[in-house]
Symmetry: C2
Amino acid sequence: MKACGLVVEYNPFHNGHVLHARKSREKTGADIVVAVMSGPFLQRGEPAIVSKWTRAAMALQGGVDLVIELPYAFATQKAEIFARGSISLLEYLGCDSFCFGSEDGRIEPFITAHTVISDQSAPFDAAVKLAMDAGNSYPASAAKAYQAIIKNDGALDLTKPNNILGKEYVSAALTSGFSIRPYTIQRVAAGYHDTNLSDDSIASATGIRKAIQEQGESLDSVSSYVPKPTSSGLEQYVSNFRSLHDWEMYWPLLKYRILSSSLSELTAIYEIEEGIEHRIKQMAKATATFSQFMTALKTKRYTWTRLQRMCIHILTNTSKEQMTNTNLPSYIRLLGMNGRGREYLHTVKKDLPLPLISKLSSYQKQDIEMDIRAAQVYALGLSEPYQASLMKREYAAPIIIK
Amino acid sequence: MKACGLVVEYNPFHNGHVLHARKSREKTGADIVVAVMSGPFLQRGEPAIVSKWTRAAMALQGGVDLVIELPYAFATQKAEIFARGSISLLEYLGCDSFCFGSEDGRIEPFITAHTVISDQSAPFDAAVKLAMDAGNSYPASAAKAYQAIIKNDGALDLTKPNNILGKEYVSAALTSGFSIRPYTIQRVAAGYHDTNLSDDSIASATGIRKAIQEQGESLDSVSSYVPKPTSSGLEQYVSNFRSLHDWEMYWPLLKYRILSSSLSELTAIYEIEEGIEHRIKQMAKATATFSQFMTALKTKRYTWTRLQRMCIHILTNTSKEQMTNTNLPSYIRLLGMNGRGREYLHTVKKDLPLPLISKLSSYQKQDIEMDIRAAQVYALGLSEPYQASLMKREYAAPIIIK
């Protein structure tokens, strides 16, 4: 059986994701599609609007055969580490290929970008440093540096968010000498960051979340952009847990954590560097909502995303020390599968280089503690008894769909 | 001017406290009455129902001339340390005497208890250890040990809560060779722990708080047990901040702190010892309210009060390390005064052995950080914008009453 891997967040799973899964299957000739999906907290430094279980179930009803979790140590990270964790897991699971959506749509410019940047790493790094010293964020600086070096009109545009991620996926595979082969398809219609819903059936997850938030959790306006299982999954979630998740829900906890921590405790948190702990304390004291806090905190030096990731690490109390042993994933956590996914897993099971965790309680090693803590903190955003029922789900068996 | 000191919590200030202040003044022949009052968190390990500012204002309208704050490092502590901090501050402020309410009512048995226990500390400690090894709490063990040693029918009954505290006040003064003289008056009517309101005008603070809680913050039933300024102070507080404070208000923060901390982080917290961090984590995971949590946590080994104090230290993130430098107070923080109090302060000001803090912003030393953090965490129990307005009060000038 040939498997194609997808790197996803599904926040929530929408029509664009259905297309991505179907086209990836076609393009790579795969028998099954495996998704490695972020857990409770996402790459942009945000809580997912619904739990990973609900998002996995949506995906399994929309063309994905097997869903595994990208551990917290890789999910809430800059593109390079996020990609390294994701692509490694797909390789370890025996996938022949992975396929990502990009603004570019051709795989060659990604391979070129990887090759050029690795071959000319000294001038590239120097150019990045120059741009950062001028006050640019890392992603903006990397894009400028690449343009300066490649001087080619058809080159990969590294200002585009999916191109950036794609380049890191390709680099992760090529740098490690993995046998998994990269593919890309062009993203349809909606841009990654588009916040408005248009009149066709594809919208970005950002736009869909915004529409949900603006309507106070009424899901009518998004139903034409998501498959039926997503609409009903979201509705079911609100009915089960009384709320979708967003950053404001965690603001009282984040503010409490910031104001009750010493500066040295804040500095021990992953990604807290360069004295930003002072600014974080000062702004948390002075603001009343997460949105006010972020607006007050933002400077040109840091992207919004990077600041939000710092906040997630503070919220989950993730230290620099805990993050030192996370070069590569050390387990594969199964979130859900359908019949084909199960069959595939059966064929690769004996050759897996990492332990496969299908039930949390059967795996007690220390390296999964960060995921359990993240799940626990994510659940604390809900009121009782919904916290408890979400945590119960965490210890139950994976989702099986016929 | 002769000053008499009182050690108080005023949670809230009631008719019994008016009597205490008046009788203390009479008995000691003092010109002014000084109260050293716990701040946001109390000796029993509970948040005060209203802020220290509101409680100080109530006291200044009920017979007290000057109110200073007992720092967090002494307020949320077992009787011995609580007493050492309080009596030291009264001595440093130049008080000639202090006067406490007790079940006993005579000062001699307190002095005898202090003398006997210091003189026979080896057999006393051995008897305490024996009783603790049999599974008793420290206070119960100390009472048993004293009875075993003194063998005297008229001896101080150390099973009574105010006698226990009183014994520690007296010991604090005598051990340090302070010039401040101890007095006691018998407590009238209500026992310290009584939870029911009786039909005369004296009720315990515990009973008054219970009546307030049971009526959902309606204050009608308590008005005959408290002076007018207390009723109106409580009403004003609810109107200003939308809520009185109780432990349940802090439960989401406490639960979050416990579940997002590692076992070693919990062990670093003051008073967390003997492996109780495991039990704390386990019970926090399994319970949905503070009351459920405490009931699940309670064992014969620990008093309810001691467990609650542990919870306060977890909530305020107070470490063993921070508590090492708290042998004696290092500042005197002024909460409020009337004209007489001001006059007294004027006469003693030049001889004070410690800095007098009347405005927080003018004193930036590290040793007051614990108090600021406690005030901040206390404020976080409120919703916004009330958090901010309570913290604004923290940085404002002391209360002045004509």
